[in-house]
Each structure stands twice: as structure tokens, then as C-alpha cells.
Symmetry: C2
Subunit: 364 residues, 2 copies
């Protein structure tokens, strides 16, 4: 196979066909999306932050039954705050509870959980080729066990300082997550959210700061973006939002419609959905309360009080409380199958990356 990738480090390191990673998207990705992206030539990822260990085991088995390609398991590494008093948050939601005739869920729903001993045992058992972490890294004993499993380890950085921190702890590659990325920003060291960097600025500064290969994430949805990321020094790219459009993603019809609407041009960071900062298309809650509220409890606790509201609204076909996660480039992508999207992306990127091989240098 002819290839023109200008940087082969990730291809060799991960044993993959092309340096394109399907972003792990908790709640939106899964077996079907991973298998289709892998069939197209991308590195498949399973988002595990909202799964039980048993579900992870089942999903890995399902993927392995359909693909021999390398697989990435993604985990969160936040340190969950104890469940806080929510009186101000409940007061803010009270008008919606009245409108929909619901309240707090009888049983608290499962929240995004951090990487644990039980999950680590699943990694040791299922032997994914890659493990990626969001919100930092697990403590050294767990990290050492993951490394001993032979998995390559990668993690997200939203600042140059975070990239240096990860590099110093021996990750195999750093994901430079630009401010454009949809879903949760992976920030884990103290930093002003107002100072987040766009990928154009963040990527070359991280490339200059670390020794390991850098994977660009946030704002990349087509072959132009892949080519630009390589120009800025990336060794590969991680793509999320573009894959949300694919029929294999698990998002509902309201979320799907939002991604192609004009509203997708004005995504914002909000803390209303989970308590953590995450980018999405504004839903009714965000429009009415503003994207950021001091009343929302810290990550991941804001979710619980919204669970019944979301369910009731979605039953009426509404996205009033549904997370409409999206990066800033939703409108660059279209709803085609993940396999076809990946194949096209790779062939178009290779064409762009090598087209100058045949273009003459002009003398005016």
C-alpha cells in the first residue's frame, strides 16, 4: 500500500494503518462506531467512563470478534468530589421540575466514574493495544499495571504545562486537546478556563515542549484539518464530532439534528450538564440559565438532578436537557457511515499531503 504520511511515528508505535484516532465519546461511541472506524483504517476507541467493568469486557469481546485491528480503551481519571449539597442547583431547576412534573430520580443514576482497580483488572484481562486517559493519569500503582499490560498509554493535555506533566510521567503520546473540541475538556491542572487555547496555538507549543509524538484533537473534521494538524507538528489526529454524524453513533435524533443546524456554529462550554466544562450546542437549559452557573455542583454531580428531566423531555421529542456535545466543526462533516468517512478522510488527506509532490515550483 502506498502511503504518504509525513510522520510515521504513531503508525509504527501503535501498529495502525493511518494516524487517525476515533475519539472516545462516552454515551455516543460504542462497539458499532469503533468497528466501523477500524474497518475504514482508523484506530478504534471504546469510551469506558460510563460503563461497568463487565460492560467493558463485553464490548471488547464484541469488537475483537469483528476486527483484528488495534483497540483503544478510554478512561477518566478525575478525583470525584463527595456529593455536595445541591439546594441551589435544585432551586434553579425547580421551574423545570414543575413544568415536566418530575423531580430527583428515585435512584441516583450511575455517574462518570474514574479508572479503578476493577477497571485495571479488565485492562489486564482484555489487553487493549492502547489505553487513553482523560483528566490526567491514574495514580502510579494503577498506571504501572496498565504499562505492564503492554498497552501504549496516551492522555489529553489542554495546556503546555499539562503536556509537560504527562511527558514527565512517561506517556507514549500526548493528545493536544484544543478549545474547539466537543465534550469534556480534559483539563486536570489548575488553570483559568478563560485562558483555554485554540488548537492552532496549543498544538505547536506542545510539540515544542514534549519529546513524545503529539496527537491533535479539537476542530478537525475533514482532510484539510488533518493536513493542517500535520503542518503544525502533529503526528496524528483524534476526531470526535465528525463521527457523531455517523449512523453508528449512539446519539438521539435531536442531537443529530442539532449537529447540522445553524446552532452548531455557536457551541459553548457549559458546566450545567455534568458540573465539568464541556462543549456542546446550547440546549434549552443552557439558553435559559446561561452556559456557566455557579449553582451547578462539581463534576460529575450535576447530572443526577437532570436525569428525570432529560428522560421526560426526550419522551416528548425534545432536547431541553439533553447534552448536545459537539466541537466547533460539526458543520464540516456529513452523515455518512463511519467506515466510508474514515476511508475518504484518509485518501483525501493523503492526496493533500502529497499533492505538492507533483506541483511545480513556479517562477512568476
Amino acid at each position: 500500500m502506498v502511503t504518504g504520511w509525513p510522520d510515521r511515528r504513531l503508525i509504527d508505535l501503535f501498529g495502525i494503518e493511518a494516524p487517525i484516532l476515533l475519539a472516545p465519546m462516552a454515551g455516543a461511541g460504542g462497539v458499532e462506531l469503533a468497528v466501523a472506524a477500524m474497518a475504514g483504517g482508523a484506530l478504534g476507541s471504546l469510551p469506558c467512563a460510563m460503563l461497568t467493568p463487565e460492560q467493558v469486557r463485553e464490548q471488547v469481546a464484541a469488537v475483537r470478534g469483528r476486527s483484528q485491528a488495534p483497540l483503544n480503551l478510554n478512561f477518566f481519571c478525575h478525583k470525584p468530589a463527595p456529593a455536595p449539597a445541591q439546594s441551589r442547583w435544585l432551586a434553579a431547576l425547580e421551574p423545570y421540575y414543575r413544568e415536566y412534573g418530575v423531580g430527583l430520580p428515585a435512584e441516583p443514576p450511575p455517574l462518570r466514574a474514574p479508572f479503578s482497580d476493577a477497571m485495571c483488572a479488565i485492562v489486564e484481562e482484555t489487553r487493549p493495544e492502547l489505553v487513553s486517559f482523560h483528566f490526567g493519569l491514574p495514580d502510579a500503582p494503577l498506571l504501572d499495571r496498565v504499562r505492564a499490560s503492554a498497552a501504549k498509554i496516551i492522555a489529553s493535555a489542554t495546556t503546555v504545562a499539562e503536556a509537560r506533566w504527562l511527558d514527565a510521567r512517561g506517556v507514549d503520546a500526548v493528545i493536544a486537546q484544543g478549545f474547539e473540541a466537543g465534550g469534556h475538556a480534559g483539563r486536570f491542572l489548575p488553570a483559568d478556563p478563560a485562558a483555554q487555547m485554540g488548537l492552532f496555538a496549543l498544538l505547536p507549543q506542545i510539540v515544542d515542549a514534549v519529546a513524545v509524538p503529539v496527537i491533535a484533537a479539537g476542530g478537525i473534521a475533514d482532510a484539510r484539518g488533518v493536513t493542517a494538524a500535520f503542518a503544525l507538528g502533529a503526528a496524528g489526529v483524534q476526531i470526535g464530532t465528525a463521527y457523531l454524524h455517523c449512523p453508528e453513533s449512539l446519539i438521539g435524533p435531536g442531537h443529530r439534528a442539532a449537529l447540522t443546524s445553524e446552532d452548531a456554529e455557536r457551541t459553548v462550554f457549559t458546566n450545567l450538564i455534568s458540573g465539568g466544562f464541556a462543549r456542546g450546542v446550547p440546549n434549552r437549559l443552557i439558553e435559559e440559565l446561561g452556559p456557566v452557573s455557579p449553582d451547578a455542583p462539581p463534576f460529575p454531580h450535576a447530572t443526577a438532578a437532570l436525569a428525570e428531566l432529560r428522560k421526560a423531555a426526550e419522551a416528548r421529542g425534545r432536547t431541553d436537557f439533553t447534552p448536545l456535545w459537539s466541537g466547533q466543526t460539526a458543520r464540516l462533516a456529513r452523515p455518512i457511515g463511519a467506515r466510508e468517512f474514515t476511508q475518504r478522510l484518509i485518501s483525501e488527506a493523503l492526496a493533500l499531503l502529497t499533492q505538492r509532490a507533483s506541483a511545480p515550483i513556479l517562477a512568476p
Copy 2:
């Protein structure tokens, strides 16, 4: 001269050597910076928003006496709000007034002024090859006079909608100003500041939306950035922050030091300095009041109440109230002369843009 620019539209349209524009930076740019950048091969710009018509005439004459290259004059097009009641703003500043023993200036200082009949007469007289506008466009009668002067007209867009608006009014090129850009965001149509797009996302969406060439701005400070901008569809780039480092810029030593400090990795949008949203390194005022305050009067009125504070602090060698405008890539650039910087940038960018002409396509 051999050139490998992949897109020659701006070179031909503006009659320039290379599709690199020196960003007009009110208060920081001027004759020396413009002449040096032009000598290196960039399109020179004079920021005119804080000048009198007579000063513009003098500066154009000074540039013309030293360079035959095309010149861009930049103007603001805001609709100034009437001077508002400032009691809350003055109350917020009161502790600083006490500390420095100053108050409101005896005479209100000159504020950033919009393009006017008098300025238009200077354009007609001095015949710049380009006129660029920030915060939209002037009303049709003035715009028609500028067009009749034979100047090419360009203007900034911070959203896809603004780019379409400018394209529909017949600009010759659109500047896609990414969220990474230092100084004032050129937003002029109603839009949530929280929804600003990074250049990686904004640029290709604007390229897809308009017929005219697009100039990428914000986050570009080296040859990698130039190359990436072209990959995303730009026909040229506008560079500001990197030129601030040059000895020809008019910024003071405190601002200069801030650009190379670690603080330059955490620039923020603030409305404290002018009332409008602009990106810079946090000074003491921003650190203490937070970057955005509802008490700051609207653009451009916040400046007046800070004038004496700034003067008094700078006299003590401090930047407590000094605008430390900077984009997110200050740390990618170094303090070298603007001519040398431009020459290096052009030759390095051309090398990157054409290097693949000699790279073989590998079969693994």
C-alpha cells in the same frame, strides 16, 4: 524569484511579494514597524484608529518616503455608544485611585474613533493600496468613496455569518479572525462571546462560505502556522503578536517582558481595558477584578477612567493597568527585527510548503 505559494490570489490582487500581512495594532504599530515588515516582504499596515487625520497623513508620507511597497490603512467601524454613567466603574477603581493618588483625567483622553468623513478624505488624498476595517464596514456612502479611491477593501469576521455579511457587501477579501488573536475581537454582528471559534474551526467554514479569498488571523506566529493556514484554505495570513516582539513595535518594556513570560500562555479576553472584548496577558487589574466585569462601560469608554492609573503605574515601572495585548502564540516568536522576522518567515514557509516536492512517497 522562485516562489512556491500555493495560492497566488492575494499576491496578484494586492500586488505584493508574499501573502503575509502585518496586522494593524493600534498603539503598538506605526511607521517603523510597517516599513521594516514591508522591507522583509510583508504587506505593511498602519493602525489609524487612535490617530488624527493629520497624523495619518504624516505617517503615510513617512512610509511612502521609505518604501514603494503597497500599504494598508486600518480603521475601526464601531458605532460609539454615548458616554455612559460610570459610577459603578469608578467605584470599582476607587481602591486603585487611592493607592496611586490619582483620579479621572482632567481632560478626557482621545478614544478609539470610528472611520469618518475626515478620515475618508485622507484615504482619497493618500491613496493607500488597501484599506482594512475592524468591527464591520462603514456606511455605504463612505465605503463607496473608499472603493472609488481604488483601494482594495478587506475586513475582519469572527463568525461565518459575519464573513457572509462582508462578502455580500463586496469586500475584496475576508480576514477570518480566530479566537486566538490578540487585541480587539472584530465581532460586529450580535453573537455570544462564549461561542467564539478557534481559527482551526473558523477558517475552513469561512472559506466554504464566501467567494473571495480568506486571510487567516489569530494564532499564527511561525512558518508552521502559515503552512497550516494554507492547508485550511487560507489565501494569506495576517500576523500581529509575533511582530509585537520586534524592536520596531511601540510597546513598553513591561508589555515586552509579558510576551516572553509564562503568563503569555494564559491570555484572556477582557473588557476592562476599553469596554470591548480584547485578548491580552492578564495585568494586575484583570487578575484582581476578573477578566470580564459588567461594571466596565461599553467600548471604547472604559479607557478614560484608567488613563491616570496607567500613567502613574508605568511611571513606577509597573504594568498594573497597561494593556498587555497578545494573541495565544506570543511564546512561539522571538525579539528579532521585523524585516528579518518577515524574511525568515517567508523563506521557512516556502520551504515547508514545497518540501514535499522532493519527498518520495513511501511504500511501507
